[in-house]
Every structure is written in C-alpha cells, then in structure tokens.
C-alpha cells in the first residue's frame, strides 16, 4: 500500500515538476525552433510511455500484493499481445525518428547565401576570421602559425588578403542572415556553443568542421566551450553580438584585415629582427616554410 503510494507520488511529482519547473531553455534566438519542437514531441511521446508504464506498475503493486495461498496466473507467452506491443513501439519510434532526421538534414545543408565565419579555438579562448569583400576565406594551415601570421594563412592565396581578423573573444553577426561557422582549433578539441542558438559542433585540430544557423534576435549572447579542453575549460567563454546592418558595418570597419596586419608588421620588422636574433628565430621564415621543413 505504502509502497504503491510512494511510487505514485514519484510519478505525479515528476509530472508536476515538469509542468511547473522554473528551469527551462533560454529563449531561442536562431532559426532552430524545429529542434525545440522535436524535443517537445519527444516529451509527449516519451513522457506518455513513462507515465503509462509506471502507472501500470503501481496498479500491479496495489492489485497483486502477496496473499498467502493465491496463485499467480500461469501464462508463459502471449503472442498477440507481444506482437501488438512491438508494432506500437515501432510506430512510436518512427514518429520520433522521422522529424529528427528531417531537422538533421536541414542542419547539415548550409544555405547558399550563408556568410562564412571562421571560429578559431585555442586553449582557452576564441578568435574569429571573416572573409573580406570577396566573400571567400583564404586557405590556412596550423603549421605556419606565428606571431606574424596568427591564423596560419597561406601567403600565396589571394582570397586571404582581405580576410578580416577579429582577435578578441567577441564576434558580431548580422541579424536574419544565415551564418556558416567554420571551426578550427590549434590545439585540442573545443566546441563553439551558444545555448540560445541551440546548435553546436566540435572544433577538431587538423580538420575544419562546420555548422550553420540564422540568428534572428538582436542581443548579446555568451559563447561556451562545450567540449572538455583542459583545466580552464569552464572559463573558455566568448561573446556573440547579433545586430542590424548599420552597427554591424561599423564594427566590421574597425577590424583589421590580413594585408593591413602584415603592413603593420612590416613596419615593425626592424624591431622584430632584433627580437629574432635574441631568441634564435627567423622572423620571415614562415613565408618560405613548407610542411616538411618543420620537424
């Protein structure tokens, strides 16, 4: 009796908690409301199954408690019932899976008008690179990263000349314009995650991964690293600002391009050489460096 009541209380408590919970997702700020909807769908179907199974269990506890001398029913199998349950479950599973696959299909197909943004993760922080006027990012290689070339860009690639460097944790994005996030990492695994955008993907050193979303609400959002990356993982935060075209363009014009960055560096070359001599480095080595040379 007592047992059944407590189990019943647990089930009712779970439902009440779910309905009244103050802990729920943050307001969505991207196009991925379909993900939220599939979660809700999963809640209805899954939660329904949970409640039914548990209620049936509680019913059994009440109804069939041990009585001396009573015999339980002897029925090893019930083909019809088993078959019915199998089909019912299969239908439920299909109902969950199908929308999930549709959403995933959208998630991995980036729209053509998406702006490319490179997110470069390092222990422990974020840097960003935007394509310049040409809308194309220049080729890059972690191997040739140096103080002169913080993104390891291929000097010979013309696409890279006008790339915009954002060497801070803060990234600005245009409202209502799809963004293709290209993820790079220079050391370990990271994951560029903004809870309000719902989407995420790991940054893997050695390859470039991607995902896309369309921010649709102005505001400032916190970037979290969602893949364990060492001792300061929890402190690896960044900031995304979603804004309208005017303020976005203003922000963009304040950023440095690759060519202006190198020009600035050239001015410092004299100092650099001195520095290099002291530190036994060759300051312009990176321009002629090829993979094999570095061992």
């Amino acid at each position: 009796m007592f047992t059944g009541l407590i189990f019943l209380a647990v089930i009712i408590g779970s439902i009440v908690f779910h309905v009244w919970t103050p802990w729920w997702w943050t307001d969505i700020a991207s196009n991925w409301s379909a993900m939220d909807n599939t979660i809700i769908l999963s809640f209805w179907i899954g939660g329904g199954v949970f409640i039914l199974v548990c209620l049936f269990m509680v019913y059994c506890i009440f109804r069939y408690q041990y009585k001396e001398g009573r015999r339980s029913e002897y029925k090893p199998e019930d083909k019809k019932l088993e078959k019915g349950l199998t089909w019912l479950t299969t239908i439920g599973v299909v109902a969950l899976l199908a929308p999930g696959l549709v959403v995933w299909n959208n998630y991995i197909r980036v729209p053509d008008n998406a702006i490319q943004v490179e997110v470069m993760a390092w222990q422990w922080g974020w840097k960003y690179r935007l394509p310049g006027q040409d809308g194309k990012l220049g080729a890059s290689n972690n191997r040739i990263i140096s103080d002169d070339n913080p993104y390891g860009l291929n000097i010979d690639d013309p696409n890279g000349k006008d790339d915009v460097f954002v060497e801070s944790n803060e990234l600005h994005l245009l409202k209502d314009r799809p963004v293709k996030i290209l993820l790079r990492s220079i050391d370990v695994l990271h994951n560029f995650y903004v809870p309000q955008f719902r989407s995420k993907m790991d940054a893997v050193p050695g390859t470039i991964t991607y995902y896309w979303f369309e921010p649709n609400k102005n505001g400032e959002y916190e970037v979290l690293c969602a893949e364990y990356c060492g001792v300061a993982h929890y402190a690896m935060r960044g900031k995304v600002v979603v804004e309208d075209e005017v303020s976005y363009n203003k922000w963009l014009s304040e950023q440095e391009t690759f060519s202006s960055f190198t020009a600035k560096n050239r001015n410092n070359k004299l100092n650099k050489k001195k520095f290099a001599k002291i530190n036994n480095l060759s300051s312009d080595k990176n321009s002629i460096l090829k993979e094999q040379d570095v061992r």
Binding site: T38, C60, E291
Partner: protein, 612 residues
C-alpha cells in the same frame, strides 16, 4: 579427447526425438534426459588458507573477491562524487577543490564507476558466482585461468589507485580520455596520471579476457544434463551476451590505449595532429583525434550494454521469483537480449553527432540507435507484464526491482532524446547527458546490484540481510537518487555544459544555483545511506536470520545445491539433472506454487506445464 568420443558406438538421438514428440507415453519416457556427454570435471581442491581463500580456484570465492574489490573501488568513486558535488553545490567554500582536482575527480569517478565497479561487479562478481551454479557446472571450465583473471583485475585496480599518489596526480582528461588534451600540458595528470590509467585499462582488458573466455565456454560447453540454452535463467543470458560483447569490444579499448600510450611516450602521431602550444608547434603531425573517438566508442557503447544486459537478466529473475510468476515472454526476452547485444555494435557514433565526423553518419546512427529502443522497450513491457496478475512479495528485493523499472524507463526515454540526432544537437555535452546516463546506467544497474545482493546474500552466507535496514536503504537511495538526476535534466535544458568546474556568471544560469545546492545535499544523503547497507552486510554476516535451503522458494539451480552455502564443486556427489525452465511458478495443478528445475515431470504429473 576425440578418441573418448568414439568409445560408445550407440546413439541416443532416436530416443531423444521420440521423447520430445511423445511426452506422457510412459514414466520412463517423460523423464528422459540425454546421458552425460562429458566426463566429470577434474578440480583442484585447495588445502591451505592461501589456496582456499587467496589464490583460490573456486569460482564462488573468486566471485566474492571480485565483488569486494569492485565495491572498494566503488566506495572510492562515491567519495569522489561527494567532493565533486561539494564544489558544484557550494563553489569556493572548499579551498582544496581547485579546477585541477575537480577534473581529476570527474575522470576517476567516471572510469571507476563504469569499468572497475559495474563491469567488474556484474561479470566478475555475479558472473563468477552464478554461472557455474545456474548452469549446473562444478566450476568454471578453467579455474586456474579464472584465478589469474581476478589477480589481473586486482593489479589493474592497484595501478589505477597508484595514480592518486604519483607526481601530477591522476589524469583529469574526462573518462573518455579524448586526445589531444589527455596527453598534453593543460590537462591535469597528463604525465604519469594518464599513463597509469592506460596501463591499468590494458591490464583490465587482459584480465577480463581470461575471465570472459571462461564464462562463455562454461555457458556454451559445460551445462548440466537437460540444461538447454532455452532453459537457462535470464541472468545467464544477460551475463553471457554481455561477456561476448566485452570480448569483442574491449579489443578497441586495448588498441586505443596502446596507441595513446605510444603517442605519449614515443611521440608518435596516431591521434595527434599539428598542435600549436604557446606559439610553438609541437612535434606531432597529421594524426586524427576523431579516430580515437571512433575506437573509444566502438568499445564505449557496447560497454553500456555490458553493464545493462546482466542487469536486465538479473532483474528479470528477481521479478519473476518475487512476484511468484513466470517471466512473461521468455523467448522474446532472450531474443531481445541477443538483439540488443548485436545492435550495440552498430550505434557507437551516436556519441559523436557533434564531434566533427562526417555529418552523413548521423542518419545511419540515429536510425540504428532508435531501432535498439524497440527490443529494450519490449523488455520493459515484459517486466511489468510479469508483475501483472502475479503474487507480488513487497520485500527489499522487489522494491529495488521496482526502483529499477522507474529509473530505467526514465533514463531510457531520455536516451531516445539523445539518440535522435537533431534533438541531440542542443542537448549533447550538457547536464542532460549527465542526468541521462546516471539514471540509465548508474542508478538503474545499481538498483539491480542491490536487489541481487539482498536476493543472493542468503545463498552466499546462509543468512538473510536485515529487512528493515534494507527498506530504509532502498527508500533513501531511490528517492534521493531520483531527486538528484530527475531535476538535473532541466539544467541541461538551460544549456549548462558538462564538465564545468563552476558556471554561475552567465545570466540565464543563475537560476541553477539553488538546484545545484539541492542536488548536492541529496547526493550527500544518498551516499551516506550506502553505509547503512555496508553496516547491514557486516551485521547480517554474523547476526542475520538463518536462511536455510531455498528461502525464496526459487526454481533455478543455484538454490538447489546439497549444501548451503554451496561448497567447492557445488553439487556433492551427483550433478543435477534439469527437466524444465527456471520459471515454473504458479503452475495450475501443481502442489506448490513453484516447481524447481530439477523436478522430473513424473513427480508433478498433474501440473499443466506449457513450456519445458
């Protein structure tokens, strides 16, 4: 051996087929069981204290040794979890909890609980104790190898524990040990800690392989007369399938451990791409971190079922015995176990939806993952249908089974969230995942372990555990654990990422503070409640109520030994002969409400048995 097989020229196959088609033709016919195929097992009986209790070849003693060692590591894991909860619930209150120690605790807690507690306890502990008894063998087929298996495991545990005392401490790379960070500066314990972890895992795999071969061969080749595969208790089916999974999945762990050890020691670049640290490129080049993840999860996902399948099997038996009813749909239960086991090799990449692997894999692995939900759901239905129209004893064992059903269904359903690729995107790497896997492969199997210990303690020691303390233990554990992990899902919805040492400066996360304090408090209480259980174990060992033979009125063979507790060799003079499956409870027409497996059909002629 082959010459022995040819000694007897006459075949009994004809008679066998006759007896199966024409049951009830005569008493000699219906009791017919094929004669023994194998000679009696040649056993080594220990004489000294050392050969009887330490380097012992008796599977039952080895099982207890496994259990005690695993429980010891479990207590270490429990204490680590307390310290983690201290940090999460009350950040900055304990100055000795730095980010380094926190991550080391996370890692060690995870690895200990999954591998050194659950795997070792289910397969090493329950497997060793129950397999020979339940299939009617005198011992494991290779007792000596079995003994080595335990001592290998013991050494693995010692090596693991040693990592707490080396410079730099144990590894803090998360239990998944993802390279590159696992072996780089910037992760605590990236020196000796990770090496000892990898060595310990390799030793565990080697030790387990020895034990696992024993379990598989004992079940396949050393059953007693009349014990066909489809008469085995589901416990044995669960352990058997899990062992096969382990034998095929652990190789991937061994290989990834070897490769990562080489990456660490010889600076090879299996998993290590070009890495820039402090502006300088390290000597690594061209490796693939994702390759490690594939290898790891090819082990890691079957590992989930290595823990779950024995739990499924054991809980089926416990529910059946204590609701005095045959397990509903035995055949389907067996096929579900085997099917889940087979499918579990094709779902591993659902842990990697957002890992940067080719996104096209997502479709395949989401589909296979959700297919697994079908046999799993069927098992749940069959458990509750076993309760239905039963005669349910509400004792501690049954309580733990009921607790298992609730937590398992809850955790299973959140598993469907995470397996469904698009739903996983916002939830992966958040507290939702933590809540899910603790519910489904932490609490649920633990419920089964506790239930099983309350159930089989009378067999092992001859005495009952204290029922009052047991119920107290259950209610605190179940309600406490449920109130830890059920609300934790909602932290994940907010978006709180896992493996965060502290998190509260984000505006939308401040509401989580109160919940974290609550969860921590619940965790302290649940942890403390386990000491009621340990007290109960120790107390009942001396003062428990004597159980006598077959105290639960169970059918399966382990309760039918001539001596209780069973002695070395299990069966005295003669091996038992099995005439039926292990679930003849409440058979109409029978005198008692249970018919043990050894009861010949002629002894219960009036019973209307449907399945044999």
């Amino acid at each position: 051996m082959s010459d022995e097989l040819n000694i007897n020229k006459k075949t009994k196959y004809k008679i066998k087929t006759k007896s199966s088609t024409a049951s009830g033709r005569g008493e000699t016919d219906i009791d017919y069981v094929r004669p023994a195929e194998l000679p009696e097992q040649d056993l080594y009986h220990g004489h000294s204290f050392i050969t009887k209790w330490i380097f012992c070849q008796d599977a039952k003693v080895i099982g207890v040794q496994y259990t005690l060692t695993a429980v010891f590591t479990g207590v270490v894991g429990l204490i680590l979890s307390w310290m983690m909860r201290m940090q999460l619930g009350y950040p900055d209150l304990f100055p000795f909890l730095t980010a380094e120690t926190y991550y080391q605790m996370v890692t060690m807690h995870g690895m200990i609980m999954v591998v050194y507690l659950l795997t070792a306890l289910f397969l090493g502990g329950f497997g060793n104790y129950l397999i020979p008894l339940m299939v009617g063998a005198r011992d494991m087929v290779f007792p000596y190898v079995n003994m080595i298996s335990f001592w290998m495991f013991f050494v693995a545990v010692v090596v693991l524990m040693a990592s707490f005392f080396v410079p730099g401490g144990p590894t803090g790379s998360g239990w998944t040990l993802y390279p590159p960070q696992a072996i780089l500066e910037g992760t605590p314990g990236s020196g000796y800690g990770i090496l000892l972890m990898l060595i310990s895992l390799s030793l565990f795999v080697i030790g387990f392989t020895m034990g696992g071969l024993n379990y598989v061969i004992t079940i396949l080749q050393a059953r007693t007369r009349g014990m066909s595969l489809m008469r085995m208790p589901l416990t044995i089916w669960g352990i058997f399938t899990a062992t096969v999974l382990a034998l095929l999945a652990f190789p991937a762990l061994l290989v990834s451990s070897i490769m990562m050890t080489l990456d660490k020691v010889l600076e090879t670049s299996f998993f290590m791409p070009t890495i820039i640290k402090a502006g300088e490129a390290l000597s690594y080049d061209g490796g693939s971190p994702i390759l490690f993840q594939h290898l790891f999860w090819f082990f890691g996902h079957p590992e989930v079922y290595i823990v779950a399948l024995p739990a499924f099997g054991i809980v089926s038996d416990l529910i059946s015995v204590h609701s005095r009813k045959n397990i509903f749909g035995y055949r389907m239960m067996v096929w579900a176990i085997v099917g889940i086991g087979a499918l579990s090799f094709f779902v591993w990449a659902h842990h990697m939806y957002v890992s940067g692997m080719s996104p096209w894999f997502g479709f395949f692995f989401a589909t296979t993952t959700l297919i697994i939900a079908v046999p799993t759901a069927l098992k749940v239905y069959n458990w509750i249908l076993t309760l239905w129209r039963g005669n349910i004893r509400i004792n501690t064992v049954m309580l733990f089974c009921l607790g298992f059903i609730v937590t398992f269904v809850n955790g299973g359903i959140t598993g469907i969230f995470l397996g469904n690729v698009a739903v996983d995107v916002p939830l992966s790497d958040t507290y939702f995942v933590i809540a899910h896997f603790h519910m489904v492969m932490g609490i649920a199997p633990l419920m089964v372990i506790f239930g099983a210990i309350y159930h089989w303690f009378p067999l092992v020691t001859g005495r009952f555990l204290d029922e009052k303390l047991g119920k107290l233990h259950f209610w605190i554990t179940f309600l406490g654990a449920y109130s830890i992990y059920f609300p934790m899902h909602y932290l994940g919805f907010i978006g709180v990422p896992r493996r965060y040492f502290e998190m509260y400066d984000s505006p939308y996360m401040t509401s989580a503070v109160g919940m974290n304090e609550f969860i921590s408090l619940a965790a302290f209480i649940v942890g403390a409640a386990q000491f009621i259980f340990f007290y109960n174990l120790v107390k009942s060992l001396r003062l428990g109520k004597p159980a006598g033979k077959n105290p639960w009125k169970a059918n399966s063979l382990e309760w039918l030994t001539p001596d209780v507790p069973p002695t070395h060799g299990n069966w005295g003079e003669k091996l038992p002969v099995v005439h039926r499956w292990a679930y003849d409870y409440g058979v109409p027409g029978a005198k008692e409400d249970y018919i043990p497996q050894t009861t010949a059909p002629s002894e219960v002629k009036d019973a209307e048995v449907e399945k044999t």
